[in-house]
Amino acid sequence: MTSHLGMMVLFAACVSTVFATMMRDEPRTAVRLGARIFGGLVVTAYGLGWIMYFAFGR
């Protein structure tokens, strides 16, 4: 896979899975936390990407 977005999503999925598993004991709450961490990572990276594009890339 050479897609930047794909690599970032894969990385975020791995990191969020480890953190959620470590921080929660119940599978249901772990999934919810993992989804929140994953969403936070992806949305933040995507937003920062657009900010850098408008600030430096044009």
Binding site: T2, F11, C14
Partner: protein
């Protein structure tokens, strides 16, 4: 969630005949998820093993480099230590001659990131397993 002023001893969980902190730490370092398996948390152990070993394999597949431990360049030395924190997979990579690093590959830096972060995450997993072994966290 435990209140911050509540004594740790009041909420400590008896670990019974499970291995102590030292053994748990060594096993957790050598094999991602191994420490949690020793403490009876097989589900968590399986997740940690699958994700961390998977990240290591992805890193190698992306052309990442397994750095040698040398501190002429401090960042290279720190990256090497981070990679060694993943334990046996790093040792197998060394023995198998893997991780030469493909600098011209588009995914080279991604590969390095996956390899380094896999080790750093395993360091956190080791500390978590030690907390369980010491009774500071529910087994």
């Amino acid at each position: 969630m435990r209140a911050t002023n509540e004594p740790v001893a009041a909420t400590a969980v008896a670990t019974g005949s499970r291995p102590g902190v030292g053994v748990t730490a060594v096993v957790a370092w050598l094999l991602p998820g191994g420490g949690h398996a020793l403490q009876g948390q097989l589900g968590k152990a399986a997740v940690f093993f699958a994700v961390l070993v998977g990240m290591f394999i992805i890193g190698l597949a992306c052309g990442g480099r397994l750095f040698a431990v040398q501190f002429s360049d401090i960042l290279v030395g720190l990256a090497a230590i981070s990679e060694w924190m993943v334990g046996v997979p790093r040792l197998l990579g060394l023995m198998g001659g893997l991780g030469a690093g493909n600098v011209v590959a588009a995914t080279y830096e991604y590969g390095n990131t996956f390899l380094i972060v896999a080790g750093l995450l395993n360091a956190l997993v080791v500390l978590d397993a030690c907390d369980v072994a010491a009774g500071r966290k529910r087994a």
